[in-house]
């Protein structure tokens, strides 16, 4: 062993590494819990040599031996890159004397007038415990003789611990599978993890179990080691049970007694497999509050949102990158792409989703990036509406809404003269895009708001109007027909009209009289009388003579004096026609007589 070290040291001298540039760290390695009277080792490891190492005072402990200095160095050449490591370690062998909690001051290392110190050391010394000999740490195993340990139920057990038991759906839980043992184990041959039904499980990076840590469990010192850690997210609400973890450990059991001279050195060991099962764990998973926002992404945790465009002005048909970054802590792996309400003229492709997530005991953190490729198909100003994203904040127990303001970019007309050949006429027409269907808007004009009247066609009066109109028509028809019929008898008509015609003539005569008696006056009077007689007596004017008229009048029973009056009027008129010298009064009397006669004849005849 010493020889090896010597050769190594010589090699290192040849290679002479320069360790000035690297950071110097001082690390301490010690058991956390010891029993009174137990011997143990504290080792400080320094990745540099050449300085002065000052150990703390070991108050409360009895120093058995030390420091024991060792030195190791390694050189790696990977692809021509040389890395060298040197470590110096200082080991002290101590024995615990009194029980209690002890704190040792940090050890310091002085190198080139600079002081580097380690962490302070906390050691718990337990008082009681007679035969619980912790042999689990190979490095700390004492060399005293112990009784063979017959393993009991408590000798070795497995625990599945969770950091939270009352969570919301989607909130992260760290589940730790830890082994506690008082006996030597040589290995773990089989691990059966539960299915974690109702959870989304992510394995946390757990260093392989190489050495066990000492831990005080209810006054008993166990060697403990974390086998695996998980990050689990409940996916359903209610009480979820995590099934037990089952492992098969190989226990080293000493067979036969220790040799009295050589101790355990020649003792023989047998490996006994043993199945250890952890208790089942129950977790209460609470559902998220009911009032989910529309844009709820499913994320529980704490996140922030950012969005950006890589260019704010492009040519038509050139691509623009829209990047939406979600960063923070939570079940980001489940985050859906935010719903973009892009204008329909932009062609958009499915987003490229990349994530940079780290799983730690604090939950999953990192960022998730959605990259959208947008291609404007027409020139003009485009605006991307605000992107909003909601998540559930566990600390405030509320839904939080993240919004990034809307983005804008301008697409200018593409000039594609590159080909040199311009083809006109190939303008492609597009159909109008119909985006949705909805009913059309209301009519804002009330139109003619009427109360409906009674229906006319179901009223009798309406049909009565038809009938009335028709009856009126028939009545007019009948009256008219009668009229025509009477007109067809000329004699009767003439008879009936005689007085009218005569009256007209007399009127003319009267008009003449105003200008003084003249030929026209007498003429009119004569015409009136002769016309009247002709019509009345139904004798044609050509056949009418004075005698015949008088006879006819007598036949009709006209009074003699009236006939005489007529005759005298006729005489006077005829005389006056040839000797027009009579006075106006005489003319007026003639007119009176003529009209008297006509009115007289008219009455008895009718």
């Amino acid at each position: 062993m010493k020889l090896h070290r010597l050769i190594l040291s010589l090699l290192l001298i040849v290679l002479r590494l320069n360790s000035q540039g690297q950071d110097i760290t001082v690390a301490a390695d010690y058991p956390g819990v010891v029993r009174t009277g137990e011997q143990f080792t504290i080792t400080w490891t320094i990745n540099s040599g050449g300085g002065e190492f000052v150990p703390p005072s070991f108050d409360g402990f009895y120093k058995l031996m030390g420091p024991q200095t060792s030195y190791s160095s390694s050189t790696q050449i990977i692809n021509g890159k040389i890395t060298r490591e040197t470590t110096y370690s200082y080991s002290y062998y101590l024995q615990a004397v009194n029980s209690g909690n002890f704190v040792l001051a940090p050890a310091t290392f002085i190198y080139k007038n600079r002081t580097y110190s380690s962490d302070s050391i906390r050691i718990e010394v337990t008082g009681t415990g007679s035969n619980q000999q912790g042999r689990t740490m190979p490095g700390a195993s004492g060399n005293e003789i112990t009784e063979p340990v017959r393993e009991t139920k408590d000798d070795i057990f497995l625990n599945l611990s969770v950091n939270k038991k009352d969570v919301y759906i989607g909130e992260h839980i760290v589940a730790t599978v830890k082994i506690y043992t008082k006996v030597d184990i040589s290995g773990i041959s089989e691990i059966k993890y539960p299915g974690f039904e109702g959870f989304l499980r992510t394995d946390l990076n757990t260093p392989p179990l190489t050495s066990l840590q000492r831990e005080n469990v209810n006054g008993t010192i166990y060697g403990t080691g974390i086998i695996q850690q998980f990050l689990i997210y409940p996916q359903v609400s209610g009480e979820i049970t995590i099934d037990p973890v089952q492992i098969k450990v190989l226990i080293q059991q000493k067979s036969g007694r220790s040799d009295p001279f050589f101790g355990d050195f020649f003792a023989t060991y047998t490996t006994v497999p043993r199945v250890v099962v952890s208790p089942a764990v129950k977790i209460k998973s609470r559902p998220l509050p009911e009032t989910k926002p529309d844009d709820f992404s499913g994320i529980v945790g704490k996140i922030s949102l950012a969005a950006s465009l890589d260019k704010d002005s492009v040519k038509v048909n050139d691509a623009v990158n829209l990047k939406i970054i979600l960063s923070g802590t939570g079940n980001l792996r489940l985050a859906n792409a935010p719903d973009l309400k892009l204008p329909p003229d932009i062609e958009v492709y499915d987003p490229k989703i990349s994530d940079d997530l780290k799983n730690t005991t604090e939950g999953t953190s990192g960022r998730k990036i959605f990259e959208y490729l947008l291609i404007p198909r027409h020139h003009g100003e485009y605006s991307i509406p605000p992107v909003s994203f909601s998540y559930f904040d566990v600390s405030t127990k509320k839904y939080e809404k993240l919004t990034v303001p809307g983005l804008h970019f301008y697409a200018s007309r593409s000039d594609q003269p590159g080909t040199g050949i311009t083809v006109f006429g190939g303008v492609s027409k597009e159909d109008v895009k119909y985006l949705g269907r909805d009913i059309r808007f209301i009519d804002q004009n009330p139109g003619s708001l009427n109360k409906p009247m009674n229906i006319l066609t179901s009223k009798r009066s309406f049909y009565t109007a038809y009938a009335g109109a028709f009856i009126l028509f028939l009545a007019i028809l009948f009256v008219r027909r009668e009229h025509v019929r009477r007109n067809s008898d000329i004699a009767v008509v003439r008879n009936r009209k005689a007085a009218k015609v005569a009256g007209k003539r007399l009127k003319t005569a009267k008009a003449c009289l105003k200008e003084g008696p003249s030929d026209t006056f007498y003429d009119e009077i004569l015409k009136a009388i002769w016309g009247y007689l002709s019509d009345k007596l139904n004798i044609p004017v050509s056949d009418l003579t004075r005698n015949r008229a008088v006879e006819s009048l007598r036949e009709r029973g006209i009074a003699e004096e009236q006939i005489d009056k007529l005759v005298s009027v006729l005489d006077a008129c005829e005389y006056a026609r040839y000797a027009p010298s009579s006075s106006g009064t005489e003319a007026a009397r003639l007119y009176e007589d003529a009209s008297d006669f006509i009115s007289y004849v008219e009455n008895p005849v009718r």
């Binding site: 909805d438 009913i439 009519d443 009330p446 139109g447 708001l449 409906p452 109109a469 028709f470 028509f473």
Partner: protein
């Protein structure tokens, strides 16, 4: 004297306009209040206001159309269809009414295949719905009276040309009168004595007889349009668009 005349004039002018101010708001004002509600997406209030106008007895195609729209926005599809159908009767061939009715019909569960009527029946119905039944009746009466006058002219006129013209005019007016009278009857039967109805119950079984124990023949869902054939007590016999008949309770449908 002159002053009194002016005052009287003013009174006569302002009396008819002032009167409604004392009473209730005009239905037209109420209507525009509904429009405002609808614009601000308060469909419930808009529907209430318009239904109020409707219940006081006022009718117009725009009112029906708007009620239909408000019903549609409130997810009352059968109500929307009912009022669109009513609006269609008052304003046939209106593009918006037709379009919204089509949209509303797509929400109906039952597939309705309306058998297209004969083209002249469709034209006849269309024309008869252009004018209200009363106006058709008035036109008919006026045409009849003018026809009689034309006939009189024909009978008594001595001019040969006038006789010819008045003869043909009278004939045309008689035909017009008869046509408009038949339009009036058709309009009355379509609008006022409609036999069509819209199913309002979410689902209803068509029975073979007018009692609850009858065999179920078919199942109808809300919004379907049916024709009422017969009525017995609280039951209607309805005919579907495919010709099947069945009895349904009278409270599950609403006449157009």
């Amino acid at each position: 004297m002159k002053h009194i005349k002016i005052i009287l004039f003013l009174l006569i002018f302002f009396l008819p306009t002032a009167r409604p101010a004392f009473a209730q708001e005009l239905p037209a004002e109420k209507f525009s209040r509904g429009v405002e509600y609808y614009k601000s997406a308060n469909f419930k209030e808009a529907l209430d206001v318009w239904m109020d106008i409707y219940n006081t007895g006022y009718r117009s195609a725009a009112l029906y159309y708007n009620i239909g729209n408000a019903c549609f926005k409130l997810n009352n599809v059968p109500g929307a269809i009912l009022f669109y159908e009513r609006a269609k009767l008052l304003k046939p061939g209106d593009d918006n009414i037709e379009y919204n009715l089509q949209i509303a019909r797509t929400m109906v569960v039952d597939k309705t295949e309306e058998i297209p009527g004969l083209f002249f029946v469709k034209w006849f119905d269309f024309i008869s719905l252009l004018v209200t039944t009363n106006n058709w009746a008035m036109i008919s009466l006026a045409a009849f009276i003018f026809a009689l006058i034309s006939s009189s002219i024909y009978l008594y006129s001595s001019s040969y040309r006038l006789k010819i013209i008045s003869f043909w005019l009278a004939l045309a007016l008689f035909v017009l009168s008869a046509c408009t009278l038949s339009f009036s009857f058709r309009n009355r039967s379509l609008v006022h004595n409609s036999r069509s109805a819209i199913i309002f119950s979410p689902s209803v079984n068509g029975k073979s007889s007018p009692d609850a124990s009858g065999t179920d023949l078919f199942i109808l869902h809300e919004g379907s349009k049916v024709t009422i054939v017969d009525e017995v007590g609280q039951w209607y016999e309805i005919r579907l668009s495919d010709g099947n008949k069945g009895w349904v309770p009278s409270d599950c449908l609403s006449k157009i």
